[in-house]
């Protein structure tokens, strides 16, 4: 459908589910109250690395009001995971980070749960702790997983250990080309562990049904993987597990359980419900979340680049040590992504990077908003400025010089169909006043670009049902955390069916009724569910036209739906109400049910044939640094994005602004801090610092048009990409202001001040 014909797509109607949220209805998981429910709680490891010698639950079980106390012994001996099945829902024999679940209790009240947890006696044999991902690979490091083999790509004589993922980027002959380069820059960059800190705590609720099925409620991003994980770890067939999703108060990849060796609170809750023979609900508290649920990993990245005097990049080598945490989780995928992206998204004729995902005794890596990307971009985009400085070249010009053209390849993308990168750089320069704005003392300007790869990954389906009154019910497998079910999906269905957006309801996922889906992750909402919903709506429309054609004595090809009427194009008097046709369907096909799916293989084939269109971005900012305290204030911030055709314009901007803000937080104030024993020192919001409104600049967003993506109407995903550039953008502005490069995140006052002092500038 050509853009000019779009009636709804591209606008910004009111959010579906907005009214419930502004009047305070209990739409979230945490608002659930099951009849007769017990409260559940989890006992977590007190050591970052230890053998479990014994667990004695007898005292806990005696407490009045306690209905179940479970340990690994109460669950099948089954492990789960994403790349490797290296984890139990409750630790068996060993704990690998402080926060690892060891036992769980169901009792009449939270106070009794607390009491009972204290009475569980666990005897540990502490083991040496590994906290640094690079150190953990060395021969003298403690071994975290005795029975997990090293990836086959690692030679035995490399004498490395604790590696669960190995990715190699190899293009051309990097060693040779580096030796021939005119200028070489060699640097190390480091990022820290971040927790996504969605505001709604994670919950799970479970009950055994009279017919023996287990129902689980979860505020999880991936209900089908939750079903898979519960069924597998509790030994129940899939058709006897039902997962119902609630609304989510944020997720950002951190509530992607099932995908990731997540917190496993759903299987633990199910186990408690089975043993207690009553419904059980577990609500984590935010301090507990910080130490136990999945996080954005820290990484150490070695990056070396050779260039010609004229600024052409000729070679890159590098090494990544990506921190998986105690279990592999999503670490292998995220580490792989980080390694690929360390090759950059510029022309790169020669490249060799080794990336290792490493076990350490810390929280587990999850698919947190752009996993691997922000870390790599912090290194790549800071490094680009260092190279530009050595060349004596303008940083924006240096980037433009190495920007690919349509038909070119970059690391990880064999063929680019079109390239918006250059345009985003030019617009960002203009919006920030690059080369024009007058900077005061201690002020600096910075620029950073980014990219993200979306199209790889499983697909998903959609079911569109047209009810007897012409209203529409949509089933997809993705959930609402401020994502597509409230915004793009009802718009796409309304667009195709010619009904008002407010007549379309997207229902919460119920694995008994919704089509399978990998989950609401990876910026794949609009691509997967958007494509599927569009096709399902078109399928429904075709069924409607086939039935209506008979009544209107016309060909289905001549029909259109306008304002809930099916009519013959050009003869508006010949019409029949959508409701009439939908009701008559009872006698013909039963019901109008449209089915659609996102054919991932087809998408990949298209990209192979025609090339892919990456969602490039450039951010730019102006900062002011206090040279005596290291405080950094962002005075102006622009974000220029190619996201193809935005479906819901305000929502797309909102995703960009929110993702940028999250990475601005990672840049300036967020990190999980550990002591030498692996204990998290800042679990609560008192000391885990998230950006507040006073420190956030107005993020001025520009959407670039003309580069259609693989999604419906040419959409590209928008959920993660804006997380990629901000840290380097701010670091580059700090460098411009002070002449000092800060290589380690966060760019907190202390880290900036220390860097200034070490450089003799404070």
């Amino acid at each position: 459908m050509a853009k000019a014909e779009l009636k709804i797509v591209g606008s910004s109607p009111a959010r579906m589910g907005g009214v419930e949220r502004v009047v305070g209805k209990g739409v979230y998981g945490i608002d659930l109250m099951l009849k007769d429910q017990l409260h559940g709680g989890i006992l977590r490891s007190q050591y970052a690395h230890a053998k479990i010698l014994s667990i004695d639950t007898s005292e806990a079980k005696k407490i009045p009001g306690v209905h179940a106390v479970v340990t690994a012994a109460d669950a099948p001996d089954v492990r789960y995971g994403r790349s490797y099945f290296d984890r139990y829902i409750l630790a068996r024999n060993k704990v690998r980070f402080m926060g690892d679940p060891v036992a769980a209790v169901a009792a009449e009240s939270p106070a009794i749960v607390k009491q009972a947890l204290k009475k569980i006696k666990v005897v540990y044999e502490p083991l040496p702790v590994a906290l640094d991902p690079e150190d953990a690979t060395k021969p003298d490091a403690p071994t975290l997983h005795e029975d997990m083999p090293l990836p086959k790509t690692i030679p035995d004589d490399a004498k490395l250990k604790n590696i669960c993922g190995h990715t190699v980027v190899h293009v051309g002959d990097a060693e040779k080309a580096m030796a021939e380069a005119d200028i070489v820059v060699d640097e190390i960059y480091e990022t820290k562990m971040i927790h996504p800190q969605y505001l709604e705590p994670r919950i799970a609720a479970a009950q055994m049904e009279p017919n023996g099925r287990l129902t689980v409620w979860a505020n999880a991003q991936a209900p089908f993987p939750v079903r898979q994980e519960v069924a597998k770890t509790l030994g129940i067939p899939l058709n006897n597990v039902r997962v119902i999703s609630t609304g989510l108060g944020g997720g950002f990849g951190g509530k992607g359980s099932g995908i990731t060796s997540g917190a496993a609170i759903e299987p633990i809750c199910g186990l408690l419900a089975i043993k207690a023979k009553r419904p059980v609900m577990i609500v984590l508290d935010k301090a507990e979340e910080t130490i136990s649920t999945t996080i954005r990993a820290g990484a150490r990245m070695y990056i070396k680049t050779g260039v010609k005097k004229d600024g052409t990049i000729v070679a890159r080598t590098g090494k990544v040590f990506y921190d998986a945490g105690g279990y592999s989780g999503f670490g292998v995928q995220a580490g792989g992504r980080c390694t690929n992206m360390l090759g950059g998204w510029y022309l790169m004729p020669n490249c060799h990077i080794d990336g290792y995902t490493v076990y350490t005794n810390k929280q587990v890596c999850g698919p947190v908003r752009g996993p691997g990307g922000p870390q790599a971009a912090f290194a790549v985009e800071s490094h680009m400025d260092s190279i530009a400085a050595k060349l004596g070249m303008d940083p924006a010009e240096f980037r433009l010089k190495n920007t690919p053209k349509p038909g070119d390849k970059i690391v990880g993308v064999p063929k680019l169909r079109d390239v918006s990168l250059g345009e985003t750089i030019r617009i960002a320069k203009e919006k920030i006043g690059w080369g024009k704005v007058k900077l005061e003392k201690n002020q600096g300007i910075g620029i950073a670009t980014g990219s993200w790869i979306e199209s790889a990954g499983p697909g998903g389906g959609a079911i569109v049902k047209v009810n007897e009154d012409g209203s529409v019910t949509v089933h997809i497998g993705k959930i609402d955390m401020g994502t597509i079910p409230g915004f793009g999906i009802p718009m796409i269905v309304a667009e195709e069916l010619g009904v008002p957006v407010s007549d379309v309801t997207v229902v919460n996922v119920d694995t008994d009724a919704s089509p399978w889906d990998a989950g609401t992750v990876g910026s794949r909402g609009i691509l997967v569910s958007g494509t599927a919903s569009r096709l399902a709506a078109i399928d429904a429309r075709n069924q409607i036209f086939k039935m209506a054609a008979r009544q209107l004595e016309a060909s289905p090809d001549d029909l259109e739906i306008v304002d809930k009427q099916i009519r013959v194009r050009g003869t508006p008097a010949k019409a029949v109400a959508l409701a009439t046709v939908a009701t008559n369907a009872h006698n013909v096909i039963g019901e109008v049910i449209g089915r659609g799916y996102c054919d991932n293989l087809e998408l990949m084939a298209q990209e192979k044939a025609h090339g892919s269109s990456q969602p490039f971005t450039t951010h730019a900012c102006i900062v002011e640094v206090s040279p005596d305290t290291g405080n950094v204030k962002i005075l102006k911030y622009v974000a220029v994005h190619d996201i193809g055709q935005p479906i819901h314009k305000a929502a797309a901007e909102g995703q960009i602004e929110g993702a940028a803000a999250m990475s601005i937080g990672q840049a300036l104030c967020e990190q999980v801090v550990f002591d030498k024993d692996g204990r998290t020192m800042n679990p609560s919001f008192v000391d885990y610092l998230m950006p507040t409104i006073n420190m956030m600049p107005r993020i001025e967003t520009t959407l670039v048009a003309g580069y259609p993506g693989a999604g419906p109407y040419g959409a590209k995903g928008a959920g993660e990409i804006a997380c990629v550039p901000p840290m380097a953008c701010i670091a580059n502005a700090i460098y411009n202001a002070t002449g000092v490069r800060v290589n380690k995140l966060p760019l907190s006052p202390e880290n900036v001040l220390r860097a200034l002092k070490e450089a003799g500038k404070a």
Partner: protein, 289 residues
């Protein structure tokens, strides 16, 4: 958990004499409620908000009397405090969030005796006094000797802070409260520096200088050596440099999740210099020479 709502000071101190070891006094609750949820529930709570006579800000000769139950927001909203005790006003203005300021009390902030308590360094430089009630009588304790360690004060487990007596600074005095934090909202101070500077009549010298440091020692402290260095002198850049370094040496900060000790010393140095320059200019109209 027991719960008491005494209606008078004598009722309250009688309760504390008997149960002080197992109970906690609760006023606004912004600290104590967190203790209850995340640490141990105490044996009992003594809710003092029903006690009459502990609220109110009133002039008391050449100073102000601020009741223990006055909320931080009430202090912040007081034109009298803003005009007469601006250093206290500034610390209340930078305190946590609006929601917290609406319930947290100045008495609670004081008796919590956290080294980083926002109002504490200002109270030290103002030479304020705490009025304490016990079952066996009252006493008035200067804040200079009130704080004894993290969480420890002259109130002890049996005492009740009833009000604060804060004399007005000498005429011509200027002050500032500088808080070092990451975000500028809701943060607990990594370092707090309160400075009160009184020029001589001719506005040539710093007749009196008082420097209060928060979050860099087991209690809030006065940088008395630095004060002595500056008293009676005109402020110059060289003197400020020396003063900053000396103030940093008078701090005994720790490494914690908020900051390293080294960084805290750097900040003490930086904010002492900044604060002295600012108050000197405000008091004398002159830039530091």
């Amino acid at each position: 958990m027991e719960y008491f709502e005494p209606k008078t000071v004598s009722e309250a101190v009688a309760l504390l004499a008997k149960h002080g070891a197992e109970t906690k006094v609760i006023a606004g609750g912004t600290d104590v409620m967190v203790d209850i949820k995340f640490k141990e529930e105490p044996g009992g709570l003594v809710n003092i908000k029903k006690i009459a006579g502990l609220s109110g800000i009133a002039e008391n000769g050449a100073g102000l009397r601020i009741g223990a139950l006055v909320t931080i927001r009430e202090v912040e909203s007081s034109a009298l405090v803003r005009e007469k005790l601006p250093v206290l006003w500034e610390s209340c203005h930078q305190f946590a969030s609006l929601q917290v300021r609406n319930t947290a009390t100045i008495g609670g902030n004081i008796c919590r005796a956290s080294p980083s308590g926002e109002t504490l360094a200002p109270l030290l430089v103002l030479d304020a006094k705490a009025k304490l009630a016990f079952a066996d009588g009252e006493k008035t304790v200067p804040f200079m000797s009130f704080f004894q360690g993290p969480g420890k004060s002259s109130a002890g487990i049996n005492g009740l802070l009833t009000e604060n007596e804060i004399p007005y600074p000498a005429a011509g005095s200027k002050s500032v409260y500088l808080k070092h934090a990451v975000r500028g909202a809701m943060d607990i101070a990594m370092v707090g520096v309160a400075i009160l500077l009184t020029p001589d009549a001719a506005k040539n010298n710093a007749q009196d200088v008082r420097i209060g440091l928060g979050a860099v020692a087991p209690t809030p402290v006065r940088a008395s050596k630095t004060e002595a260095l500056l008293r009676g002198k005109p402020l110059t850049a060289a003197l400020l440099k020396e003063a900053g370094a000396l103030a940093a040496s008078e701090a005994s900060p720790i490494n914690d999740q908020r900051s390293s000790a080294e960084n805290r010393r750097w900040i003490v140095e930086a904010l002492t210099r900044r604060g002295l320059a600012q108050t000197w200019k405000a008091a004398t109209g002159k830039e530091v020479a």
